[in-house]
């Protein structure tokens, strides 16, 4: 089954007098349970593609399908609902809510989904334990290191078991050891729950870790390699 299908996507930004083609007639398919790395130099279009797949940004033309459902024609509210139910995000800047504790940040999505308090509390504790943050549940983001915050962000993305996780430069602010640990965690979640991962990065160590590597340049796919079996 195809988890993500992008057909002939175009997205152009205007910066001053310059027209930047972030996506240039780009098409890809990602199967359910796929583990894909998007790689490009800065400005190559990988973040724009992730945003288009996640419904955070609408392409100028082309189609985006998630699990057989076309999303680029949906309203803001419908896209929010889709992200809530099907997609988990891991951002480069973590994007945790600073006034909430680690556990509350992880619970947030489930709270919006309407999961009862006791159930979501237990799930949050378990998933924080799973990402190696047992005992740090009541710390706020400011009281945690970059690696710990990124793990909270991962826990928040996976806790409601979304079909698709989109990660934008998840290791950019992490040291190599923490980065390896995070990639191992992604691999475990991918194999254990058949979660589809699309990870945008230009970190060579991350690229080496991921079975399918898609290289992008100026909004186009220049290479799509199956490096090794998942």
């Amino acid at each position: 089954m195809t988890a993500v299908r992008c057909v002939d996507l175009c997205k152009t930004y205007i910066q001053g007098d310059t027209e930047i083609k972030a996506l240039d007639h780009l098409s890809i398919d990602v199967d359910a349970g796929g583990f894909v790395c998007l790689s490009s130099p800065s400005g190559g279009g990988k973040t724009t593609l992730l945003n288009a797949i996640g419904g955070l940004d609408i392409p100028d033309s082309g189609e985006v399908w998630i699990e057989g459902e076309r999303i680029d024609t949906k309203s803001k509210g419908q896209l929010a609902e889709l992200r809530l139910r099907k997609i988990g995000f891991v951002f480069q800047a973590y994007n945790l809510i600073p006034v909430l504790t680690a556990r509350e940040n992880v619970e947030f999505v489930m709270q919006v989904q309407g999961v009862p308090a006791a159930e979501r509390g237990e799930l949050a504790i378990n998933v924080l334990k799973e990402v190696g943050l047992a005992g740090l549940e009541d710390r706020r983001p400011a009281q945690m290191s970059g690696g710990q915050q990124q793990r909270v962000a991962v826990a928040r993305a996976v806790v409601s078991r979304p079909a698709l996780i989109l990660a934008d430069e998840p290791t950019a602010n992490l040291d190599s050891k923490t980065s390896d640990g995070l990639m191992d965690l992604f691999s475990e979640l991918n194999s254990a729950h058949n979660t589809t991962f699309i990870i945008a990065t230009h970190d060579q160590r991350v690229m080496a870790h991921i079975p399918r590597l898609i290289r992008m340049l100026d909004g186009r796919i220049v290479d799509d390699i199956q490096q090794h079996a998942p």
């Binding site: 955070l56 803001k76 509210g77 992200r83 997609i87 995000f89 951002f91 994007n95 809510i97």
Partner: protein, 384 residues
């Protein structure tokens, strides 16, 4: 918001307290709260529009109401002449014993004394009239007019008191003589023009009115009017004052609404990044907008509750101890009025202002809430 609510509670209570005082003092000066008159007298104050046996009627009411706040009167216009000058004057026949409890004029006699006997040939006049006629205490005044039967009526009376109400109209054009003397001079044959009744306070007027109506059924000889009918100008003055005050309150409410709008707008702008994050995670813009409105609602409710509580405490203090402004004591003493103003606290004065502030605050939060509909999660997450 709390401060404005306290201010609204206090100002509205004080305003209604002042209206009470205005009505009370305005009516106590002369009109009273209720009058029994001949049916056409209120619109056409002619000598012949009389209430028969007016003193007997007043006595009977005092007995049945078990209240001394009832007094009979008669009234006509005469030419009052001193040795040097003559002026047209409204001459009022009053019961010397009971007039002081229904009118403040006896208390305003600054020179001499008020009337004592029901038949004595004495008169109390206003300060301006005394000045115009160039007379003083002990001087004689000649009254010339028409009797009830149309005959010529005349009398010579001694000035025993001069009152100073501070109201130029009253001081210039009114004089009071004993009712017995009035009835003799003007051949009234026991008749008069009004029975004046006052209630302990303005709120008890409807109840007193009902009791009087039960005791004195309205017929071709008697009608009963309350102060609204007797002094429509007083109510109109209050309504005019209320309109201007409400314009001031409206400005205050609009200022509060703008400050809430500013606060909420700033609070939304400051949290743009957080709002971008939660929208990216799946919170719908509409739900986020409702959260902002709910936040304002909770803030507003807190403002209403705290404003009403603090406002009630502050206002209650002044309902007990009163409020006196500089210079008010002297002015009040001059007009025989209380020296202090007392706010009138009620559910309406406690909650009306804060509730309106609350509603306007909610309205003011709509714009910041609606702005969230146009928020773009990706751009919002880039906000500092």
């Amino acid at each position: 918001m709390v401060f404005s609510n306290v201010l609204l509670v206090f100002m509205m209570s004080l305003q209604f307290g002042m209206y009470g005082l205005m009505v009370d003092n305005g009516l106590k000066a002369f009109t009273g709260h209720i009058q029994i008159q001949a049916p056409a007298y209120v619109d056409d104050q002619k000598m012949r529009q009389t209430v028969p046996d007016v003193v007997t009627l007043a006595e009977s009411l005092r007995e049945q109401l078990q209240s001394d706040f009832v007094s009979a009167r008669a009234q006509t216009f005469v030419l009052a002449s001193s040795k040097d000058r003559s002026y047209g004057v409204a001459i009022i026949g009053v019961e010397p014993k009971f007039e002081p409890v229904v009118s403040s004029i006896p208390g305003l006699v600054k020179e001499g004394r008020f009337l004592k006997s029901n038949d004595a040939t004495e008169i109390v006049i206003g300060k301006t009239l005394a000045k115009n006629l160039r007379i003083g205490l002990g001087d004689e005044l000649t009254l010339l007019g028409s009797g009830l039967d149309g005959s010529f009526a005349a009398a010579v009376v001694n000035v025993v008191g001069i009152f100073d109400s501070g109201v130029e109209d009253l001081d210039r054009s009114i004089a009071e003589i004993p009712l017995g003397l009035f009835q003799d001079i003007f051949y009234m044959q026991g008749a008069g023009h009004q029975v004046v009744i006052t209630a302990p306070n303005i709120d008890l007027v409807p109840e007193l009115m009902a009791r009087v109506q039960a005791l004195v059924p309205e017929d071709e000889k008697h009608v009963i009017h309350d102060w609204n009918r007797l002094q429509p100008g007083l109510k109109q003055a209050i309504q005019a004052d209320m309109s201007s005050s409400f314009a001031m309150y409206a400005i205050l409410v609009i200022l509060v609404a703008f400050s809430v709008l500013n606060t909420q707008l700033m609070s939304v702008l400051e949290r743009t990044r957080e709002f971008g994050i939660v929208m990216a995670l799946g919170l719908k813009p509409g739900r986020l907008g409702r959260l902002v409105i709910l936040e304002t609602m909770l803030m507003g409710l807190m403002g209403v509750v705290l404003g009403a509580i603090v406002g009630a405490i502050v206002t209650y203090y002044f309902t007990v101890y009163g409020l006196s402004l500089p210079g008010m004591d002297e002015m009040a003493a001059q007009f025989n009025l209380p020296a202090r103003m007392y706010p009138q606290i009620s559910i309406a004065t406690l909650l009306a202002g804060p509730m309106i502030v609350f509603l306007f605050s909610l309205l003011a939060s709509l714009y910041p809430a609606l702005r969230l509909r146009w928020l773009h999660p990706v751009e919002a997450m880039r906000a500092a």
